[in-house]
Amino acid sequence: MPIMEHKFKRPKSLKDADTHYCSGCGHGILHRLVTQAIDELGIRKRTIGVAPVGCAVVAYNYWDFDCAEAAHGRALAVATGMKRLRPDLVVFTYQGDGDLASIGLCETIHTANRGESLTCIFVNNACYGMTGGQMAPTTVIGQKTTTTPWGRDPKKGDGWPLKVSELLLNLEGVCLAVRCSLSSPKEILKTYQYIKKAFTNQTEGRGFSIVEVLSPCPVIWQKEPVEAMRWVEEHMRKFFPLGAMKDI
């Protein structure tokens, strides 16, 4: 028996690849959490991931299970088609705020309302990352983006930060709506537990689960990675309170 054992390994579901993500980006942590949960639940061989349009569009380059690409905002419709035909599979979507909360909000609400047995990982970084930092539905008040150069201002018609989890929690088909954060090790561990719960809900056929994850985007926010983590804590959490809104 070796005295030292290598415990912290790369999950099988996570490929040994360099990612295209910027330094300090939350996707790296979240990919790790999702793949670790899939490994731990032993569902890798029967999992399909649906990638969004956005920074995570090529998530399948890093995930080692079956994946499909969906058109912008349509991941949950694609996932619905798969899951209805193959209830034996575990199907999840991984979507950003532009994808899920703007162009795909109709699909999001109706998939949740039908109570599709799906898992939805919703990455909220308060901006459009891939297209260079435009205002997202989740951009916080006062936040400067390329399309709100003086800061998001509801008085100018920019609207308020859209609270997706709060929007979905009243729908009968939703069994889990929770908001987590990647801003500290403690919150990361909580996020992991809820991701696992969201997959277990699916394997037990309990309904629609959404895990909203507040995630840093240092390059677009023009902040150092550590500073970006702090910005999640100090600015995003004001508008987006953490915790399970619904967990049944």
Binding site: A68, T80, L89
Partner: protein
């Protein structure tokens, strides 16, 4: 998960059905086990029929929240290997174009039925053939084509719907059935064939997601960011379109023996044109009908084949002139006259006869 070819419930030899219902039954017979759709007139009977029949056959029916969601649900269904279908009418088809482009880019088979109505915009719910350009030129963004099949009777709507599933699986492409309000709404007696008559061997789908046997993970994608990779993908697709263009042209002739004048029409308009041909023949005008069944690929080979002996060509459409452009491309230098009505207007047999005779008289 392969398609089941035999549906459970038995059908009598001759049945009376509307075109919409008949296309639904044809899909069931062809092994379609997934349908997602959104209400729009004049194709609602098809959606309702699928709701009832897929339930009986143990398939999946979803009333989607939009045409966008419906086509993307079909995308997901196709990813896991099911024969899948959606249907709509003109305004709804505009919304489905996004999904059709992705299906083509990802090389996923699917069948899409368009029961055309008047446009542009909300238009009306009367018969129209104004979506010809959209259907035959890809329709969505990017370089692609989809095979387009245009039925002229309820029975042919059944044949072509079944054929659409075989073409889709064989070539791994979305296939359109381009019907119109008249075909969708009219009721005719017809027999239900057990096969489409497609002769080529359709291989098992070894590319689908969610296969449980030991293998490496599969990806369905249309994004190719590496330099040159998309061009390579497009080039491969081009070869596929060329193969389809060569192998899948279909058309029919009506009373073309000894014809000097030929009318070219498709869908319900071709049905009306057969009456015009009969009237003209009774009046000793040597007219015949050329009827494209595939609108893409356009049956140019057979058209060119009969054109030598033809003095004048008449194209009749329920549009302001769309298919006529393919006729001009097929028959350069030929005298081509066009008769069309749009916005729900349908050229009648009498109008066609008058038009043909006036053009012949003017030439003399």
């Amino acid at each position: 998960m392969g398609p089941k070819t035999k549906a459970k419930s038995k059908m009598p030899d001759k049945i009376l059905m509307t075109g919409n219902e008949a296309m639904g039954e044809a899909a069931i017979q062809a092994g379609c086990r997934f349908y997602a759709g959104y209400p729009i007139t004049p194709q609602n009977e098809l959606t309702a029929y699928m709701a009832r029949r897929l339930n009986q056959e143990g398939g999946v029916f979803i009333q989607a929240e939009s045409e966008l969601a419906a086509i993307n649900m079909v995308f997901g269904a196709s990813c896991v290997g099911s024969r899948a279908m959606t249907s709509s009418s003109s305004p709804g088809m505009s919304l489905k174009q996004e999904g059709i482009s992705y299906l083509a880019g990802c090389e996923l088979p699917a069948v899409i039925i368009n029961v055309m109505r008047g446009g542009p915009g909300l238009g009306n719910i009367a018969s129209s053939q104004a979506d010809y350009f959209q259907a035959t030129r890809g329709g969505g963004h990017g370089d692609y084509f989809t095979p387009v099949l245009a039925p002229f009777s309820v029975e042919e709507a059944v044949h072509l719907t079944m054929l659409a599933f075989d073409l889709a699986d064989y070539y791994r492409t979305p296939v359109l059935v381009l019907a119109d309000a008249i075909i969708g709404q009219m009721m005719e007696a017809m027999s239900l064939p057990s096969k489409s008559g497609f002769k080529k061997k359709i291989l098992p789908k070894n590319w689908t997601l969610g296969r449980t046997q030991k293998r490496s993970s599969s990806i369905v994608r249309s994004l190719f960011l590496k330099e040159g990779a998309l061009e390579e993908h497009n080039e491969r697709l081009r070869k596929k379109w060329e193969r389809i263009r060569r192998a899948e042209q279909r058309s029919a002739l009506y009373r073309t023996e000894g014809a000097k004048y030929i009318i070219i029409s498709y869908g319900s308009q071709a049905r009306i044109a057969t009456v015009a041909v009969d009237i003209l023949r009774n009046q000793n005008v040597k007219a015949g009908l050329f009827r494209p069944i595939t609108l893409w690929p356009y049956p140019e080979r057979s058209l060119v084949g009969i054109a030598d002996k033809i003095d004048m060509v008449f194209v009749v459409e329920q549009s302001l002139g769309q298919m006529v452009e393919d006729v001009r491309l097929s028959l350069p230098g030929k005298k081509i006259s066009f008769l069309g009505r749009a916005g729900g207007g349908v050229p009648t047999a009498k109008e066609i006869v008058r038009f043909v005779k006036s053009k012949i008289a003017r030439k003399r």
